[in-house]
Amino acid sequence: MIRKLPFLACALALATAGGAQARGEADPGVTSTTITIGGTVPLSGIAAAYASVGRGAEAYFKYVNARGGVNGRRIVYKILDDAYNPANTVQQTRELVQQERVFAVFNSLGTEHNLAIRQLLNTLKVPQIFPATGATTFGSDYGRYPWTTAGFQPTYTSEGRIYGRAIGQMKRRARVAVLYQNDDYGKEILNGIRQGLRFAGRGGRVVAAESYGISDPDVSSAVAKLRRSNADIFVIAATPRPAIQAFIAANKLAWKARIIVNAVASASNTMKIVAASTGKRAEGAVSIVFLKDPNDPKWRNDRAIRLYRTIMRRHGTGDANDVYNVYAMASAYTFVEALRKAGRNPTRASFMRAVTNLNIRNNPFLLPGMRIRTSARDRFPLDQARLQRWSNGRWISYGPLLSPR
C-alpha cells in the first residue's frame, strides 16, 4: 500500500500537468475549426437604429468565413438583443461567457451597457474589444481593466477637442453655445470643446450650455434659452431626433449661428431630414468624419466601398446606405487583423497582446491616411478625423486629418 503511493502521486502530477497543457492550448471559444465571439446590440427597442452596428460586423465575418476564415477557423459571432437596457446586457453577457463560452466580447453597444459588464469581463479575464461607444474611460482605465480596449471611434472628448480647435481656426474670439445630452456622452463633448478652444488659443469660449434629457419630447425650449447668448457658433451634441429638432428650432428663431453637429447625429439620412425641414439652414453645417460614407459620391468607385456593397449584397441585411454598416465593418476588419496576429492557436492573452500592439495603415473602410495604432498604454485605436461640411444635400470632407492632441 505504502509502496504504491509514489506512483499514484506521480500519475496525479502527470494528469494535472497534462490538463494544464490542454487548457493552455485552447482557451474557451476556440476549436480546431471555429472561434466563437459574441456581443450585445439593440436589435429592438429605443436604440434599434443601431442594429446595423451588429449586423454589419456579422456580414463582414461571414465574408471572411467564405474566404477560409482566420488560420482555418470560421468566426462564429453571436449577437444578443439587449434592447438597449443595461440590465439585459449584464445577463446576456453572462450567458455569452458562461454558456456559449465565447473567446471574447466584441462590439457590444452603449456606454452604460459596456460599463455594466466591464468589471465582470475583467474578473473572468475575457477580452472586451472595441465596445461601440466613444467614452474615454474604456481606453484610459487599463490599469484597473486590462482586458478592455476603447471603442473603434475617436472618443467624445477627442471629438469635442477637434471642434474646439476647428472653431479657433474659423473665428477669433468665437462665442460658442452648446446643446448637450445630460449624461457622460454629452458632458465629454462639452468638456472636449472647452479644452480644444483653450488649445486653439484664439480667445474662443463657451458662453452658454444647455442640456436635455433623453425622455424630453423636444428641445426647442433649451434652444430658445441658448439663443439669448447671441453665440456665433452653435454646437449640437445630441442624438438624431433631438438634433433635428435643434436645427428646426434654431431656424424658427432666426438664429444665424454656424452650426456644428456631432458625429452621433450626422448620418446623411438624418441630415436629409434636417435639410427638408429647414431648407437652407442646414447648408454649411460642420461635423467630423472618419469613415468612408457610402452616400458620398467621392467613394462611388472606391474599391473598399465597392467591396462593402458586395458584402452587403451577399451577406448583409438592411440598408447598404446606412453608414453604421461601414463602421461595423471597419471595426470587424480590425478585429480580424488582430486575430491573425494572435498566433496560430490564439489564447485570450495572446489576443490581448495583439490588440494592444496594432499598427494598421490600410483599413480600407477608414478615410485614406488614417492609422490605427495601439500599445499597452494607448488603447485608443483611432483619434483622428477630418471635418466635413454639408453642402447641396451631402457631406463634403475638407481640410487635413485633425488630431485632438
Binding site: 426647442s220 431626433r241 434636417v274
Partner: protein, 293 residues
C-alpha cells in the same frame, strides 16, 4: 420679456401635441372605462401608415384613408384583444394594453425598419415672427385641430343618440343592454374613434417633432397622461387645457427655476399627476364619480 413670451409660445406648441394624445386617452376612457397604455403606439403605427400612403397619394387623401384604417384597426383591437377579457380584473386589461404597446412597436419596426422618417405637415412650417417671438402656422394648426376635435366630440357625446349609447354602455353595460343599446358595438366604436383621434395626434405630432420613428410617442404619452389627469380623465376640454398648461408650466420651470433645469422636467410632469390625484382626484374639469351603494 420676449424670452418669457417665447418660452410660453413654444410651451403652447408642445402642449398642443400633448393635448391631442390626451384627448384620445380621454375618449377611450369615456367610451370604455379603460386606460389604454397602447394609445401612443396606436398613434405611432397609424403615422407610419399615413407616411406609406402619402408616398403614393396626395396629402389629404392619405390623411382621410389613414383615419378610415385607424378606425378599423382600433375596432379590430377591441374585438380581438379586449373583448375576450372584458370581465377580467382591470389589471389584466391594463396588462393587455401594455402588450399592445410592445407588440405594435415591434410590428412597426418589422414593417418599416429603424430609420427616422419625415411626414409633411398640412400647415406651413415657415417661421412667423411677431415682436421677437417665433412660431409657425403649424403650431397654431395643432392647437386649432385639438380644439375643433373637442367641439365635435362634445356635440357627438351630448347631442347624438350614438353618443348617448356610448356613454351608457361604458357606465352601465347591463342596464344599457336591457334598454336596447348594443353594448358590444358601442365598445368597438369607442376604440375605433379613439384610434382615429390617436391617428390625428400622430399626424400633428410627426411634422412638429421634425422627424418620427417608432419611439415618437413614448415620451409624449407620459406627458399626455399627466395632461389628461390634470384636466380630468373624463373631460375632453380638460385634456386640452391640461395639455397646453403642462407644456407651458414645464417650459417655464425648466427655464426659470434652476433646480428644475433640463433634468427634472419629466419628474415635474409626474409630480403634477401625483399632486392632482392627492388634491383633486377628478382633475380640473372632471366630475367626481358618485356611486349609489
Amino acid at each position: 420679456m420676449a424670452d418669457l413670451l417665447q418660452q410660453i409660445v413654444s410651451g403652447l406648441a408642445s402642449g398642443g401635441i400633448y393635448a391631442s394624445l390626451a384627448l384620445a386617452l380621454v375618449l377611450i376612457y369615456r367610451a370604455t372605462r379603460v386606460v389604454n397604455f397602447g394609445q401612443g403606439e396606436m398613434a405611432m403605427f397609424t403615422t407610419f401608415v399615413a407616411w406609406s400612403l402619402a408616398n403614393h397619394l396626395p396629402y389629404w387623401a392619405a390623411f382621410a384613408l389613414t383615419l378610415v384604417i385607424a378606425f378599423a384597426g382600433g375596432a379590430a383591437l377591441e374585438l380581438l384583444l379586449i373583448r375576450p377579457i372584458r370581465d377580467a380584473p382591470v389589471l389584466t386589461v391594463v396588462t393587455v394594453t401594455i402588450g399592445v404597446l410592445i407588440g405594435l412597436n415591434g410590428l412597426a419596426r418589422l414593417i418599416w425598419g429603424n430609420e427616422p422618417r419625415q411626414l409633411e405637415s398640412p400647415f406651413s412650417t415657415e417661421p412667423v415672427r411677431i415682436g421677437g417671438v417665433a412660431f409657425s402656422l403649424q403650431d397654431l394648426g395643432t392647437i386649432a385641430v385639438s380644439l375643433a376635435i373637442v367641439a365635435v366630440l362634445w356635440l357627438f357625446f351630448q347631442r347624438t343618440k350614438v353618443g348617448l349609447g356610448l356613454r351608457a354602455a361604458a357606465l352601465n353595460p347591463s342596464a344599457s343592454r336591457l334598454v336596447g343599446v348594443r353594448v358590444g358595438a358601442m365598445l368597438a366604436l369607442g376604440w375605433g374613434l379613439a384610434a382615429v383621434l390617436g391617428a390625428v395626434a400622430g399626424l400633428m405630432a410627426a411634422p412638429a417633432l421634425g422627424s418620427f420613428d417608432q419611439n415618437m410617442m413614448q415620451p409624449i404619452l407620459l406627458y399626455a397622461f399627466a395632461a389628461a389627469i390634470l384636466g380630468g380623465i373624463d373631460s375632453p376640454l380638460g385634456a386640452v387645457v391640461g395639455g397646453l398648461g403642462l407644456g407651458v408650466i414645464v417650459n417655464l420651470l425648466g427655464t426659470y427655476v434652476d433646480v428644475v433645469g433640463a433634468e427634472l422636467r419629466l419628474p415635474v410632469a409626474l409630480l403634477i399627476i401625483l399632486v392632482v390625484l392627492l388634491v383633486r382626484p377628478a382633475g380640473l374639469f372632471g366630475r367626481e364619480a358618485v356611486r349609489r351603494v
